[in-house]
Symmetry: C2
Subunit: 340 residues, 2 copies
């Protein structure tokens, strides 16, 4: 198998440790990767960048088109743009895919049967960054929803459902209030849905959908929605599934894709061999599927699952009576490698 | 005690039944009310109104300044404005107060210790209704946040916390992305918070806050936030507390106030003596506090609580082993009256 070039960034805080663990596991699993490393995040911001990413890094991303990214820290104070949002837009990453799965009883959760994938539109909505101060006391932000943008992410969601054997796609919107913007998203959902007669479809007003998701997430399968709702719902889903520490995410574009953990850089844990590398590792599994190495992806995923089921847990999911052994980042990675 | 004039609307669906039950209980409890009845909702829409509320009804609302409102049905099809949003704006109801309390073990919930009050800004944000189609494929909606609007609801939240002996006020915003609009809300929270040194303060980015709320609502006390986040969070809170059927809400303005259940008009249940009147009744309790009849409010609230604790439950919260008796709307009201 020929190697696939990918770009890797170690990020800030716990980033370097979990990236190290992840890459060791991928290597041991036989992933065929040619790795280019770039620097992103805090140091780059503090060197004077406003986006936390330099030109040479962009070159690498445009060349490899595949980005495995560790969490970064944005320095305190104003004037810094969100690196994530910048990358999503620059690379046209229109769909953000975030699975949230319960691993009960190995990981504690009140929702043992949940297995939901939230697919959020990733470029538009209030994230378009159009905001201004209209008078001294009046501030405005533009929510932008386009028909092609909605169509793309909705089609992606249905294709995703079909290729992973999922039965239902749900749409969340608030088109009783936003009849045009959320209205077009809803209309595209209904229209494109017709092309997928094999898949069940439903739509909820976002407040009611959110309440259902928080209360009975096991009722959902794939959920597609505009950017900001997706931001909120994917955090809810990750948290109630048992741990944000286990959430991986894929940002998908026509040309490029970026894979990262759902959680942040957790500076207080940095350098202590404490962090759970699972979120980034599961993002890497999605990356391996994306670049056409599904067997390696399955091998890594199964070994990870076995490690969790064997009760070998980092501190964040450690639980007396269920966990067998509390381990650090490195030891967790070794345990996964042993089970490959 | 002299009587207070209030305006009452029986609404649609289960509205008439739960209003009837509520008013019977208030009367039996000795509430001093002079009731003006208006017609709102589906019939008014279908007579050709776009807002579901006629001029004579507005007259009554402007005269009494206190509105006890049952849920309504908006007819299917386009062109109808949300009656709720219209009333909130027309009467300047800037704060929407929604308590969500667990009544475990009498009402099933995964979060037995939750007792949170969500206070949402009620006039601005994406609800300002400024939306347009910019090109054939591009739609925009304006999110509007003002300094005075933010200040008012935030001050209300702190005053509320103080007068009900609550210890903490939390603010939810997304000002890492919306630095101006959500930024001003956050800044006003910090500024006004300084006037309340006796109350603990904290702020969460809304996605993280939402995840915490869905996972461990008992960590919150009062939460204040812009309109749309509040819409979503208050539905989540009501649902995970055990039942949206138990949620009452107050919409507060400088001149006027409106009190209603959180749930909708549930047409399939209408006319069957099945509906749970608790949401509207608890809204009425808030109304009694608001109009200066706190003793009657306490009497009603205690009798209601006793009814729930005695296991006298409508079908929606009935549970084998916990509930003692399944009753209809009328019988539930009688049980509350027996306990006054
Ligand atoms: C960091 C922030 C800009 C980002 C977002 O809002 O999209 C984050 O919350 C996420 O969900 O990836
Ligand atoms: C009916 C709808 C306009 C309303 C809202 O979005 O505010 C409702 O969801 C609510 O929470 O009162």
């Amino acid at each position: 198998m020929s190697k696939t070039s990918i770009t890797v960034a170690y990020g800030d805080g716990i980033g370097p440790e979990i990236m190290d663990a992840t890459l060791k596991i991928l290597d041991a699993a036989g992933a065929q990767l040619d790795i280019e490393t770039i620097e992103i995040g805090e140091k780059v911001y503090l060197r004077g960048g406003t986006t936390g990413l330099e030109e040479s890094a962009w070159d690498s991303l445009r060349r490899t088109k595949v980005f495995l990214k560790a969490p970064i820290t944005t320095p305190q104070g104003g004037g810094y743009k969100s690196l994530n949002v910048t990358i999503r837009k620059a690379l046209g990453l229109y769909a953000n895919v975030r699975p949230a799965v319960a691993y009960y009883p190995f990981v504690e959760t009140k929702h043992p049967n949940m297995d939901v994938v939230i697919i959020r539109e990733n470029e538009e909505d209030l994230y378009a960054g159009i905001e201004h101060r209209q008078t001294e006391q009046v501030y405005q932000c533009l929510k932008l929803i386009t028909q092609p943008g909605s169509e793309k992410v909705i089609r992606y969601a249905f294709e995703y459902a079909r290729s992973y054997g999922r039965k239902k796609v749900t749409c969340f919107v608030k088109d009783n209030i936003m009849k045009l913007t959320d209205g077009i998203f809803h209309r595209m959902f209904d229209e494109i849905g017709k092309e997928y007669p094999d898949i069940e479809k439903e739509t909820w007003i976002v407040d009611i959908g959110a309440a259902k998701l928080a209360n009975s997430p096991e009722e959902f399968d794939v959920i597609v929605m505009p950017n900001l709702y997706g931001d909120i719902m994917s955090d809810i889903a990750a948290q109630i599934s048992g741990s944000v520490g286990l959430g991986g995410s894929a940002n998908i574009g026509d040309q490029c894709a970026m894979f990262e953990a759902v959680h942040g850089s957790a500076p207080p844990l940095a350098g202590k061999n404490l962090a759970n590398p699972s979120g980034l590792l599961l993002a890497a599994v999605m990356m391996l599927q994306h670049i056409g190495q599904p067997e390696v992806a399955a091998r890594v995923h199964n070994a990870w699952l076995k490690t969790i089921e064997d009760g070998i847990h980092t501190f964040d999911i450690y639980r007396e009576g269920i966990s067998k052994q509390q381990v650090g980042t490195k030891e967790f990675a070794e345990a996964v490698i042993d089970r490959l």
